[in-house]
Symmetry: C2
Subunit: 314 residues, 2 copies
């Protein structure tokens, strides 16, 4: 609790920007859109499993990053809402598959039984598969609301972030690393793909909803890479410092599964220092982006989200 | 053997068109493209599992439908090759997941051990996930070779064909139908989604690589629906009439798993009659498409493929 309050105070203190109010307004829109778009009518219980996997849970960090990056470039809000939901569907599907018995075999997620516990393994598998497809369906409406150029760019970014050189590749490394001693470089590469790619992809997808200069796009990519890595470092810290109730998932499971983590590699204090350094990197990238030419209003949500990623308590 | 020979003779006899030669030339291109595009460099064994799932196997019916439909509308060959490979990746991922122990628990596919037998369940799961993402990556190159309008249309068609109102939805119905007595309408709906949607999607994606009239698009959709259903009817027939060596997969497994099939519902002879009627429907749709205004050359590959779908022996 303390850290979250501190994070909000920090972000308000730095800029007068109220992240909690900003997030709350956007999250209401995102939750409503997800509820509308995630297939209640999918057959044979598939829709129920998909909705269970997606609705009423999660911090929605990725959607918020999409929306914040879209605001930073003055992009198209309708496209960004679709991109925000699409990224969240990819994240949700990855959790469903990651929790399966043949992967992490986890039974608790966001304080609820995992999808396969609730709906059976086969339906969980299919729900994950269908959520991935639905993500790309959301990005390609045929109602004229989003230009084909933006649709193609969003599909490209999402596919790359989710695939073998992104999230799925990182999960494969994770799987192959259990019980191994990784170097810091190897651990960073694993997390750059497993968690970082989709977080960075969220930022770039938000930027793709508008017209960003090449310099701004590079800067937003650097911002996304820094907070992507910071997210995982903090995850590793929380896995050993927080309890399951606060996390809404099983605490201490990395150690229990003998997985390499930043804490096991760097120790707790160095991990905390590293997370703060990554926050500074993310903010410095925004400083250099040219997006603040007329003041910091456009990047303030991205700045506050970076602070929240590093100083969160769950 | 007899049926396949008959199919080729039939298609040659009808139009002088040599499907085997046409397929052989296109398949060489498709195989090479798949080998180039399916990630040998994906980390931690993921690339090996992905390539194992995709390369050196399968009839490649879906890619051939994409290419034939593209030819029918005089579309962009480069876009069609990407679409052909993308559809095959979706098909391949669905087989990998379908074979998992929590689904059909099959150990033989295309005459080889299934992916999870060869690489373990977790890596098979991830390989399937990564193949789905890669399909959309193939559809969205940033090298200027495919227009954003076509990229967006292809992603839209593929996502809808693969998702909850397509293939994944059909698999959910299949899963929920084991041991149940389905009506013919229910069985048709299951297969329309499970198998038909991606076959029809293949035809429509090929058409989306060019400019087709509204009437031609409708006709190609009807053609795709008819052969999609015919494919499954023939699959059900072969499951009871062919042996595992000919099929390259376990024969008789529908009956062993107490799954409803056309043969169990209609009987063998009526199923055969139904398959032939669907072939006639598919050909009639092409007749009405307006694509043959200057002769049948443009639709001859589609015609021969429909014949092959119905008169194949594996």
């Amino acid at each position: 609790m303390d850290t979250r309050v501190k994070a909000v105070v920090h972000s308000q203190g730095a800029s007068g920007f109220d992240l909690r109010a900003w997030s709350s307004a956007h999250l209401e829109t995102v939750e409503q859109a997800l509820s509308n778009w995630v297939a209640a009518d999918a057959p044979a219980g598939l829709g129920d499993a998909m909705r269970y996997a997606v609705l009423d849970g999660g911090k929605r960090l990725r959607p918020l990053l999409v929306l914040a990056a879209c605001e930073a470039v003055g992009g198209h809000a309708g496209a960004a809402l679709r991109a925000a939901c699409a990224v969240e569907l990819i994240h949700a599907y990855s959790l469903v598959h990651d929790d399966l018995p043949c992967m992490d075999n986890d039974v608790l997620r966001r304080g609820k039984p995992t999808v396969h516990v609730q709906f059976g393994e086969a339906r969980a598998l299919l729900a994950g598969d269908a959520l991935q497809a639905l993500a790309f369906e959301l990005l390609t409406p045929d109602d004229g609301t989003v230009s084909p150029v933006v649709q193609a760019a969003l599909c490209r970014l999402l596919a790359r972030s989710a695939g073998h050189h992104g999230m799925a590749g990182g999960q494969a490394i994770d799987l192959a690393s259990v019980g191994l001693a990784l170097s810091e470089a190897q651990l960073r590469e694993m997390h750059r793909l497993k968690t970082g790619a989709l977080l960075q992809g969220s930022v770039l997808m938000g930027a793709a909803c508008g017209v960003a200069s090449a310099a701004a796009t590079v800067a937003l990519g650097e911002y996304g890479a820094a907070i992507g890595l910071a997210f995982q470092v903090v995850d590793d810290i929380l896995d050993v410092t927080a309890d399951s109730a606060t996390l809404g998932k099983t605490a201490g499971k990395d150690a229990a599964q003998d997985k390499p983590t930043y804490v096991s590699l760097l120790g707790l204090e160095h991990s905390r220092t590293y997370a703060q350094a990554l926050l500074e990197q993310a903010l410095a990238a925004l400083d250099a982006s040219g997006l603040d030419a007329a003041g910091r209003e456009r990047t303030q949500a991205l700045r506050a989200l970076a602070d929240m990623v590093v100083n969160r308590n769950n």
